[in-house]
């Protein structure tokens, strides 16, 4: 794909092109890695798009008082919102799909209430914005560095720690995990908290990158879900992982940027996006692991 786009448009592999790919990649990657933990445990989180918006609004709100420290507001509030998702899901004993659909509506509403009166919350302090947009080696935005550190950390968590193994096992066989004496709820809550946390990191970085935030709905949920799933994490849980999300997000970011550079009409882009999603899933679905093709 990268070769294809490079041939089609010389601007694609320029310094600018590479930076644009990274800026597109960061939010999709962070949201996808978070969503992956929820999917691994066989739940679903529809609210990450709203958490992304709400946390960017909160971050922008505090940026003028806290300066660079405000960047921590995103992850902190995001983790709380994620935890709330988990609690609604577990204590309400309702499907996570419905629980997070409801919180998706709620968080979006709260974001609009917070921004009321102003259309845009500016957060233009240089020291705050530098967290996202200063460059390492002049081609890597700092926000990319943060995103990669977190991604690598969570890949490690998923694949190499007991926590990760338990989350997989909840997704693969909930009852068996429960009967083996594991406090399943704790892990499920943690998975939702991670999802909210990473959406919050993405929201905070977005506020810094753009120098502010608005409460307008931003269509990032479906691309993030696509990124989380196209490289082989099934929504039936128990398989895949954040390393797959990294691959998925990378594919989508390259695709989006490539189509942009080649000036493809916006809506045709969505169409091509859909076809690529299906092809990618076809190629990456591990049919030995995904027992239930539902």
């Amino acid at each position: 794909m990268i070769v294809l786009f490079s041939v089609a448009s010389p601007g694609f592999l320029s310094v600018r092109g590479i930076i644009v790919i990274q800026l597109t990649l960061v939010p999709i990657l962070l949201l996808a890695v978070g969503e992956t933990f929820v999917l691994m445990a066989r739940s679903f989180d529809l609210s990450i798009g709203s958490i992304y918006i709400l946390t960017s609004v909160f971050t922008a709100l505090f940026a003028s008082q806290l300066g660079p420290v405000a960047i921590l507001v995103g992850p902190a509030t995001g983790a709380i919102f994620g935890l709330m998702n988990g609690m609604v899901f577990k204590f309400g004993r309702i499907p996570s799909f419905i629980a997070t659909l409801a919180t998706m509506i709620i968080y979006q509403g709260v974001a609009q209430i917070v921004v009321t009166g102003q259309y845009y919350l500016f957060a233009t302090e240089e020291s705050f914005r530098a967290i996202a947009i200063s460059f390492v080696a002049s081609v890597i935005p700092l926000m990319m560095v943060w995103a990669m550190i977190l991604t690598v950390f969570f890949i490690f968590v998923a694949l190499k720690t007991k926590f990760g193994r338990v989350v997989y096992s909840i997704g693969a066989n909930y009852e068996a995990t429960r009967f083996s004496g594991i406090n399943v709820m704790k892990y499920q809550l943690a998975a939702f908290a991670i999802s909210g946390f990473l959406a919050g990191v993405a929201g905070g970085l977005a506020a810094a990158q753009q120098g502010g935030a608005s409460a307008l709905p931003y269509p990032i949920l479906l691309p993030a879900v696509a990124a989380a799933t196209i490289a082989g994490t099934p929504i039936t849980g128990g398989a895949g992982g954040p390393h797959r999300a990294l691959l998925g997000a990378l594919m989508l970011a390259v695709l989006t940027t490539g189509l942009n550079v080649n000036a493809v009409e916006t809506n045709l882009k969505t169409l091509i996006f859909g076809i690529v999603v299906i092809i990618a899933i076809y190629l990456t679905t591990d049919r030995r692991v995904v027992h239930l093709i539902k």
Binding site: P95, I98, A99, I105, G109, I230, T270, G274, Y282
Partner: protein
């Protein structure tokens, strides 16, 4: 467990749904004098119908144990398509539209069964494809912001009854009611319906009975696509415009109506009566809050909270297996 107790449980389960509806209606009626006004009830039923006709297709798919989130995309695309070619080829446009819908549905089913990809992901892809195509057509025809005026050309499909003093848009309710009853009968009384439930409960056991599971699955997705197309077509006379953005917000709400009614995403349980109740609960929440004069901003928050309460109340009486 003997037959009597399971029957009793089923009855309790159904009555909890109805009870919740009644509580909701009473609460809103107390909260606002305008809620039970005939004109408002007409408005509730109109909005309910918009949601329901798009939720019926997905109900079939969920009963069969799969997922389909492409409805809103298919309905939107078909709407724009019909709007564009209606002036050229007349009523034939409707047939073309529904065929396109059924075509995308079959494609969903074929990719799902032949390529063995989870249906959620196939239909996510189709959602992107159809939405992209819908908007592309709209942009190319320069109708993205205003839509295509229908100018009453399809009014014959939403007839008004002279004695009832209700707006034309209410007629969508007849379609919603008719389709729901038809599908309910098919799902409960025919071999086809029974087999769909069987596949939803256990596709592998159904296969062992010598039933062509793949065929039924493709059929269910084709049906879902066609039903979505019919919805997309009916929105045209309903709005009197072919709007390229109308269905955008409906993607997950339809699935919510199905699940809220108690049709388990795991398949094999639930049915159309449940989808009807789920859609009714969502429409009443939406309308009741607006009529009570709630601030537009607070509306979202309260709406979300009530959906949670509804889901909690409803899922109490229902055995949905593992709550995912």
């Amino acid at each position: 467990m003997n037959v009597n107790s399971s029957r009793l449980r089923k009855r309790i389960r159904d009555s909890i749904l109805i009870l919740f509806l009644v509580v909701l209606v009473v609460a809103f009626a107390i909260g606002s004098s305008g809620f039970l006004r005939p004109s408002n009830i007409v408005s509730i039923l109109s909005n309910f119908s918009v949601l329901l006709i798009l939720s019926l297709g997905i109900s079939w798919v969920v009963m069969a144990g799969s997922l389909d989130i492409s409805q809103a995309g298919i309905a939107g695309l078909v709407g724009i398509l019909i709007g564009l070619i209606l002036p050229v080829i007349g009523y034939g446009a409707i047939a073309v539209g529904i065929l396109v819908g059924a075509g995308f549905g079959s494609l969903n089913g074929l990719i799902f069964t032949k390529a063995r990809i989870p249906s959620f992901l196939v239909t996510l892809g189709t959602l992107f494809v159809t939405t992209g195509l819908e908007k592309y057509l709209a942009v190319t025809a320069h109708v993205l912001t205003n839509g295509i005026p229908i100018e009453g050309r399809l009014d014959a499909f939403l007839p008004t009854i002279p004695l009832l003093n209700v707006p034309r848009s209410f007629s969508l309710f007849y379609w919603a009611a008719g389709e729901s009853i038809l599908f309910y009968m098919i799902s409960q009384k025919t071999r086809f319906g029974l087999r769909i439930y069987a596949i939803g409960s256990s596709a592998s056991s159904t296969l062992l009975y010598g039933i062509n599971v793949t065929g039924y699955q493709v059929l269910v997705f084709a049906l879902s696509g066609a039903i979505s197309a019919v919805a997309g077509f009916l929105y045209l006379p309903y709005l009197n415009t072919a709007s390229p953005t109308f269905t955008d917000s409906l993607t997950f709400v339809t699935l919510a109506a199905v699940v809220l009614g108690g049709t388990a995403l795991a398949g094999g349980v639930g049915g159309f009566h449940r989808t009807v109740i789920g859609a009714l609960i969502l429409s009443i929440i939406n309308n009741g809050l607006t009529v009570m004069g709630l601030d537009a901003l607070a509306l979202f928050v309260v709406q979300g909270v009530i959906i949670i309460i509804a889901a909690v109340a409803v899922s109490r009486g229902i055995k949905t297996g593992i709550i995912q």
